[in-house]
Symmetry: C2
Subunit: 205 residues, 2 copies
DNA sequence: CACAATTATGAGCAAATGTTCAGATCTTGA
DNA sequence: TCAAGATCTGAACATTTGCTCATAATTGTG
C-alpha cells in the first residue's frame, strides 16, 4: 500500500475512440466504487470489474490508484471553479444578501451530485501534495474574493474582514456539505434561506 | 483488510497495574501514530513499537485495529459531553450572546488537543455502526438542546428553529474544526468573537 | 488484404499488514 | 519459596491489494 509521491499523469494518451470510452468507464466506475466502499475498500480490481474491463486496461490509463482519485477530484474542482467563474464574472447583484445567495447556491450545486464521493475525495486528497496545493489555492481564491467583496461593499460593517472572509467561506462550504450529506438532510431551500440570513446579518450587523 | 462488523470490547480485563499501564501506553501511542501517519499507514506494529511493547501484547487488550480507534473516539466523545454537561447544567448566562460564547469555547476546547487526530477519528468512524450511532446521538442531543434554547429565549427571532439549530451546531463544530486545523490557523480569540457575533446577529436579527 | 499500432486481457507477483499462538517472563498470594 | 495465574513476546501465517507483463484481440492505413 504505497503512499509516497508518484506520477499522476496517465501513461498514455488515448488515440482511438474506444480508448477514451474506456477511460470514461473507469472514472465513472471509480466514482461509484469510491462512493460506496470508501477509498481503502475501493480496490482497483473492483473498479475494473464494475467498469466491465480488465485490471490491465485500467493500468494502461492510470499509473496507480491515487491517480484515479486525483483525476476525479480535479474534475470536480474544475467544474466548481468554472461554474463559479461563470457566475462571478458577470455583474454581481447589488444587495449583499443576494451575493451570498449566489455563493450558497454555488456550494449547494457543487455538492448535489454525490456528497459521499466528495467527502472521500477531500479526505484522501492529502495523498498528493499537488492536490493539496490546488485545493489550498482554490480556497484562498475564494477567501480573497470574499474579502475584497466585504471591503468594497457599502452595507458591510465588519472590522476584521480577513477573519470574516475565512469564516464565511468555511461556513458555507462545510455546513452545506454536512447538512446535505446527513442521513436526514435538511431541505436545500430552507438551508439556503437560513444561511443567507445568517451571513447577511453577520456582515451588516 | 477486513471491514465488516466485529467485536469492539477488549478481550480481557486488566487485573494488574502493569496491564492497565500497557493499555494506556497503547492508546497514547495510537493517538500519536494515527495523528502522524493517518489510519491506513498507522499500522498496529507501528503502534506497538511506539508504545514500547510487542505486537502480541497489543492484541491482548484490543481485538483488532478498529477497536483502538473506537476507544480513542469514545474517550474524546465522553470527554466532550462531560465538559458540555458540566457547563450546561449550571445556570446559563442571560444574554444569548454569552450562551453562544460558551458553545464556541466548548468547541474550541474540544479541538485544541490534536485536530489531526480528531479528523482521523471522525473520518474513520463509519467503520463501526455503533460509533456512527453514538456520534449521531451526541449531535442530535446538541441540536435538541440548541433548539429548546432558541425557542425559550426572549431575544431570539428566528422562525424555523429546527433548521436554525442544525445550522448553528454544524457551523460551530465544523468551522471551528476547520479553521483551527488549517496550516495557518486563525487566532482562536478572533474566531470566537466573530463566530459569536455571527450566530448572535443571526438569531436575533 | 496485410501489416503495424493501439488497446484489452488476466493470471500471477511482490509487498504490506492484521492477527495468532506457543512459549517465556513476571506478579501475586499463601 | 513456589505454584498458578496474568502478562508479554515476536516469528510466522494468511490474506489482501496494488500492480506487471507476456500475449491476444482489435482497429486504422496503404
Amino acid at each position: 500500500m504505497p503512499s509516497d509521491q508518484r506520477r499522476i499523469q496517465p501513461r498514455k494518451q488515448p488515440r482511438q475512440v474506444r480508448a477514451e470510452l474506456t477511460r470514461q468507464r473507469i472514472l465513472t466506475a471509480a466514482a461509484h466504487v469510491f462512493g460506496d466502499h470508501g477509498y481503502a475498500a475501493g480496490t482497483t480490481n473492483r473498479i475494473a470489474e464494475r467498469a466491465g474491463i480488465s485490471i490491465g486496461s485500467l493500468y494502461q490509463y492510470f499509473p496507480n490508484k491515487d491517480a484515479i482519485l486525483a483525476e476525479l477530484l480535479t474534475r470536480h474542482l474544475d467544474g466548481g471553479t468554472a461554474a463559479a467563474a461563470k457566475v462571478l464574472t458577470g455583474p454581481l447583484p447589488e444587495p449583499i444578501e443576494e451575493v451570498f445567495r449566489v455563493f450558497v447556491r454555488l456550494a449547494v450545486e457543487a455538492h448535489r451530485d454525490d456528497p459521499h464521493l466528495l467527502r472521500m475525495l477531500l479526505e484522501h486528497a492529502p495523498r498528493s501534495n499537488e492536490l493539496l496545493e490546488r485545493i489550498g489555492r482554490v480556497k484562498q481564491d475564494m477567501v480573497g474574493h470574499t474579502q475584497a467583496l466585504l471591503e468594497g461593499h457599502p452595507e458591510v460593517r465588519v472590522a476584521d474582514t480577513a477573519t470574516a472572509a475565512r469564516l464565511v467561506i468555511a461556513t458555507v462550504e462545510l455546513a452545506v456539505h454536512d447538512l446535505l450529506a446527513e442521513p436526514d438532510p435538511v431541505d436545500a431551500r430552507r438551508l439556503e434561506d437560513e444561511m443567507v440570513a445568517m451571513l447577511t446579518r453577520y456582515v451588516t450587523g
